[in-house]
């Protein structure tokens, strides 16, 4: 091994440890992301496989087929297939949706026939045998807190609530609710409360059950044999075609189509078809994670490059000595790269382990906290080879520039102790032009990408532009720190108060390189976090505004005939009401063209305080001469005639069916009463879809009309925004660590450089506290500059990022700056700077006045 590299590694010590930690964090991120994506897609496959539940062939409706059409995969068709050669069984499965109760709580239920050959393992209890028994999926049991022995009640259909057509005979008989006892729990998850019944149990349902599929199991050896499945698939298709008189068509992974309604798929085809649907999702997930991984690697690369610059600077004397006694430039460079390689390898191995542990933890957390059961995380080749390889490559690449710098040390530097700081090199033309090009081009691409909603130029431009800022930092960061110092010092050259800031200002001019390096380390962290924070806030604000635009009201509860007290009790008990207003209504007949329909007329006062409280946008209320009409209330038409007036029609999707809203000016002469009115409700922004679902189900027991589309939509965005905030928090933590590492590095370099300066200051009479204060004040002023630059860049990147993700037509983007979180970033940055300066400040303040004045 290269003797220089060995010695370097020995002396790098703590500084190398910090850089190694940065490598480990970045690699851990990449490895964890790869493992999670792998686990996610395996989960999807297992779920898809569970879907086929051990069947060899499945006859089901094609996508877009009419479930009430003909033919459907029903018992009659199953009978015909039962006698086919090679077929052991052909079971027609039915499916139903109904309202009901689980353990006394109202719920929307999906009820399916339990396939006899199901592979979903039992978690507890037994499979259903009697008509009055049912099994639940694990998720359902957990959410509703019930288990074997508890009761399920399935209510008879109510067309107004479920919106499903009801078979005539059940409606006539009005059989009342059906009751089942939970016999067991099976594995599985679904967005509905889900129960499986026996065929006899399905017959007992008070609602219509729809044929969903025919599951075919093959005889003996042929069971599970792909070749046999394909052969029988063709036979089955032929039988179905003959029975229905329709054509057979091959549809790839969608199986074999029969006409426009039916299809026959092998189990494998069903899994593949599901996977094709899901690959899109998995790819998006992988893309997002890859982007974060790239950011993590980029930040780590900057930290490593920075660390190695510091190392080169602190080793100048040694490097010069080595050059003097005959080390070739190539040897110094390869020693440095070798050092990077070792560091990268060690960091990457640690990172891979860390990433594996993180993925394991996330997998467990997903199951425990988010009810999302993932397949166990398993080491993959890609994660454990590609992740560390990328980490090593990145580390070595980040060492290239410092390694080059190491070779430019002249051997002369070894001969005498350096006296006065030599004049710092000016920014080279190459650096200047590269910086200007990167900055201008990068920011232009970012702005254009944001304006034209294209992600690639926005993201690429942001990275290029930020690199440009770092390259050019030497030009404007020291003057900014200097200006800040002078500003703080105030006028008066001889004032005592201004002495420290004035010294800081002078140092910024004297050592622009060090000032820039320290500030850049913080700048990276601040930019990253503020981009995420401002981006997330802008996304939320844009979605909120769009939602308020489309759906200005959260919930409207009509209680024609119901007891207003019951409704109020339910609402108050839910804890989900931030404002409510009872609007009196008038029962009227509205005429449009030839038709005349009964409607409920409301006339809220747009200017009233309670209206403004309950609505998210009162400008949605009509002007005089216009009527807001709920959809499906009137025939198509531009005008409506109401109590002798003719009004312009404006459709309003957010109103309950049969509702018309007027301006109070148009409502004169109508007789309003509270009984015919509606309760308009505003719910908290962070209400979950589960809570809202329960509330609507409870309200449904008392009233007929509930509209909560906006709240449900908002609730469906909430987890997304929460996730983004979680990422922001994680990044905030990581960025603070990175920033502390970065500033710590450059400040500890400054200790090395500044011992003489500190001694001189002490010799001419500065107190220990003064020297320490100088270092801390310097760090804090640099942090302020980093904050200003980072927040500006973060606002631009955040806006561009969100704007490039959203389509212009769908959601116009607004820039929102969450000041509370920005303040948190500020406190964190200043705190990190002060913290990182503590050790160097202490070390320097202890310099004895005499020590620094002699050479070495």
């Amino acid at each position: 091994m290269n003797p220089i590299a060995t010695a370097n590694l020995r002396s790098g010590g703590r500084r190398l440890f910090a850089a190694g930690a940065a490598v480990a964090v970045a690699v851990a991120f990449v490895v964890a992301a790869l493992l999670m994506v792998d686990s996610f897609s395996r989960t999807m496959r297992v779920q898809a496989q569970a879907e086929t539940a051990g069947a060899d062939l499945v006859v089901s409706l094609q996508d877009g087929a009419d479930p009430a059409g003909d033919p459907v995969p029903d018992e009659a068709l199953a009978q015909r297939l039962q006698d086919q050669p090679g077929v052991a069984s052909a079971q027609a499965l039915r499916n139903a949706y109904a309202e009901g109760e689980l353990g006394g709580q109202p719920a929307m239920l999906r009820l399916s026939e339990h396939p006899g050959h199901s592979t979903s393992p039992l978690v507890s209890g037994a499979l259903p045998h009697a008509a009055g028994e049912a099994v639940l999926t694990e998720d359902t049991a957990r959410v509703y807190g019930i288990g074997p022995g508890d009761e399920i009640v399935v209510e008879a259909a109510d067309p107004a609530v479920t919106g499903q057509p009801v078979a005539p005979e059940t409606q006539q008989d009005d059989p009342g609710p059906a009751r089942y006892i939970v016999s067991g729990i099976v594995e599985g998850s679904s967005p509905y409360a889900r129960a499986y019944l026996t065929p006899a149990g399905m017959d007992r349902l008070p609602v219509e059950a729809w044929p969903e599929s025919i599951r075919i199991v093959l005889d003996g050896e042929a069971h599970g044999d792909p070749a046999a499945q394909t052969a029988v698939q063709q036979d089955v298709a032929a039988v179905l075609a003959a029975a229905t008189g329709q054509e057979i068509a091959a549809m790839g992974v969608q199986g074999t189509g029969i006409g426009e309604q039916l299809r026959v798929q092998t189990g494998e085809q069903i899994v593949e078809a599901r996977m094709q649907d899901l690959t899109g999702q998995a790819n998006v997930l992988a893309g997002v994670l890859a982007a974060f991984g790239a950011v993590a690697l980029f930040v780590a690369a900057l930290v490593i490059a920075n660390t190695f610059q510091v190392l080169v600077a602190s080793r100048t004397r040694t490097l010069a000595l080595l050059r003097a006694i005959g080390a070739a430039r190539r040897q110094l460079r390869s020693a440095m790269l070798l050092e990077g390689l070792v560091l990268g390898a060690l960091g990457s191995i640690a990172g891979a382990l860390l990433g594996y542990l993180a993925a394991l933890g996330l997998g467990l957390a997903a199951g425990r906290f988010w009810q999302f059961e993932l397949e166990p995380v398993a080491p993959t080749f890609a994660a454990f080879v590609a992740g560390p390889a990328v980490g090593v490559l990145m580390t070595v690449a980040a060492c290239l520039l410092p390694a080059h710098r190491a070779t430019t040390v002249t051997p002369m530097a070894a001969l005498r102790p350096a006296d006065v700081e030599p004049a710092r090199r000016r920014v080279s033309w190459l650096r200047l032009s590269a910086g200007v090009l990167l900055t201008a081009g990068g920011f232009a691409a970012t702005v254009l990408g944001g304006m034209r909603h294209e992600m690639l130029p926005a993201a690429g431009g942001a990275i290029a532009g930020f690199l440009g800022v770092l390259v050019l930092g030497r030009l404007f960061i020291p003057p900014m720190v200097r200006a800040l110092g002078l500003l703080l010092a105030g006028p008066g050259r001889f004032s005592r108060r201004g002495a420290l800031p004035r010294l800081v200002a002078q140092n910024a001019r004297q050592v622009p390189g060090r000032t820039t390096a320290t500030t850049s380390a913080l700048l990276i962290g601040v930019t990253l976090v503020s981009t995420m924070t401002i981006g997330a806030a802008s996304a939320q604000a844009s979605l909120e505004r769009e939602l308020a635009q489309r759906l200005p009201l959260d919930m409207a509860v009509g209680f024609a005939g119901a007891d207003a007290g019951d409704v109020s009790r339910v609402l108050d008990g839910s804890g989900l009401v931030t404002a409510e207003v009872l609007l009196p209504g008038a029962a009227e007949e509205a005429r449009s063209g030839e038709t005349q329909v009964p409607v409920t007329v409301l006339a809220p006062e747009p200017g009233a305080a309670e209206t403004a409280q309950v609505m998210r946008r009162t400008t949605a209320l009509p002007d005089p001469g216009t009527a807001l009409v709920a959809p499906a209330t009137l025939q198509e038409g531009d005008e409506v005639e109401l109590a002798g007036r003719v009004l312009d029609v404006e459709p309003a999707g957010w109103l309950p069916a049969g509702t018309i809203v007027l301006n109070p000016a148009d409502a004169a002469g109508l007789s309003f009463s509270e009984d015919a009115g509606q309760l308009w409700v505003r719910v908290p922004d962070d209400a979950g879809s589960g809570e809202l679902g329960r509330l609507t189900a409870q309200l449904g027991e008392h009233t007929e009309v509930v509209v909560a589309e906006a709240t449900l939509l908002r609730a469906s965005y909430a987890p997304l925004i929460d996730t983004v905030l979680l990422v922001v928090l994680a990044l905030l933590g990581a960025a603070v660590v990175v920033a502390v590492i970065g500033i710590g590095n450059t400040l500890s370099l400054s200790v090395f450089e500044r011992r003489r300066e500190a001694a001189l200051l002490r010799a001419v009479g500065m107190s220990r506290g003064g020297v320490g204060g100088l270092i801390t004040l310097e760090a804090v002023l640099m942090a302020v500059v980093a904050l200003v630059l980072g927040l500006a860049a973060g606002a631009l990147f955040g806006w561009a990022g969100i704007s490039s993700v959203f389509q212009a037509e769908a959601v116009p983007v607004v820039l929102a700056v969450p000041w509370d979180r920005v303040a948190m970033i500020g406190v964190a940055a200043l705190g990190a700077a002060a913290l990182a300066s503590l050790l160097p400040a202490r070390a320097l303040s202890r310099t004895s006045p005499a020590a620094g004045l002699s050479v070495d």
């Binding site: 010695a7 370097n8 003097a324 006694i325 005959g326 080390a327 002369m412 001969l415 102790p417």
Partner: protein, 252 residues
């Protein structure tokens, strides 16, 4: 001024030679001309001290002769090989294979042990150090028990001894010593000078030492005096009194 003997030059080529060296830095008022057409020969197997007041050009001369700095004009030779005009790569190889260095301070790589420091030139690609020679020299310099120590665990004198051992073990054509006693107390300085003397007497090395210490220079076989970038004196077997007088003369 004193006389110059040329006796040994007829027999062997000089170990190091400077021919009409010119060097200047800066321009205008700040211009410095440390070397003004300086020519000088250094014989092999002898201990030569280069003396002169500050700014006389003695350090620049050493930098040029050791291939650390390039002159504006003139030639420098190590043995028969001209080193002026050589590319950096070859200069590096010449430093590694043919030149030993002892500096005033910061002679050793701090993260390497004494032994690693001594063997470093060989491990950088030079001739493999002779094990026997290594043991003999470290024994002679009293370093045997300190070989595993790092520089900060050694005294100043011990550090300089390690530097001397490094220069001796690779058997260079010439050893350049730049104020080797500048950082040491009297006794330790005398000890290091004794080692340089021994390098010439016992190991037949060529030593060129830059110093402004008259006591140190009086141990050399020959002392050359520089003033304003030119030769101002050349004494064989100098004693401290003659040297001090000569120094006084050139600084006047």
């Amino acid at each position: 001024m004193t006389t110059t003997t040329t006796g040994s030059r007829a027999l062997t080529a000089p170990a190091v030679r400077a021919v009409a060296l010119e060097k200047s830095y800066g321009d205008g008022d700040a211009a410095v001309r440390p070397l003004r057409g300086l020519s000088i020969d250094f014989d092999a197997g002898r201990f030569t001290a280069v003396m002169g007041p500050s700014g006389s050009g003695k350090s620049t001369l050493m930098h040029v002769l050791a291939g650390l700095d390039a002159p504006d004009a003139g030639q420098a030779f190590i043995g028969r090989r001209e080193i002026t005009g050589l590319p950096e790569k070859q200069l590096t190889r010449i430093r590694r294979d043919h030149i030993g260095f002892i500096f005033q301070a910061y002679n050793l790589v701090p993260s390497m042990t004494a032994e690693e420091n001594i063997l470093l030139p060989g491990r950088l690609g030079g001739a493999r150090a002779d094990r026997g020679l290594f043991r003999e020299i470290t024994g002679r310099l009293g370093l045997s028990a300190r070989l595993g120590h790092r520089p900060f665990e050694l005294s100043g004198g011990q550090q300089q001894r390690v530097a001397v051992a490094r220069a001796l073990v690779s058997r260079p054509d010439v050893i350049f010593a730049d104020e080797p006693t500048g950082n040491l107390d009297q006794a330790t300085g005398a000890e290091v000078l004794g080692l340089l003397r021994a390098a010439v007497d016992e190991y037949d090395q060529t030593v060129i030492m830059v110093t402004h210490d008259v006591q140190a220079a009086s141990l050399a076989d020959r002392a050359v005096l520089l003033a304003d970038g030119a030769l101002a004196g050349d004494l064989q077997a100098p004693d401290a009194g003659r040297l001090a007088a000569a120094m006084l003369e050139v600084t006047r």
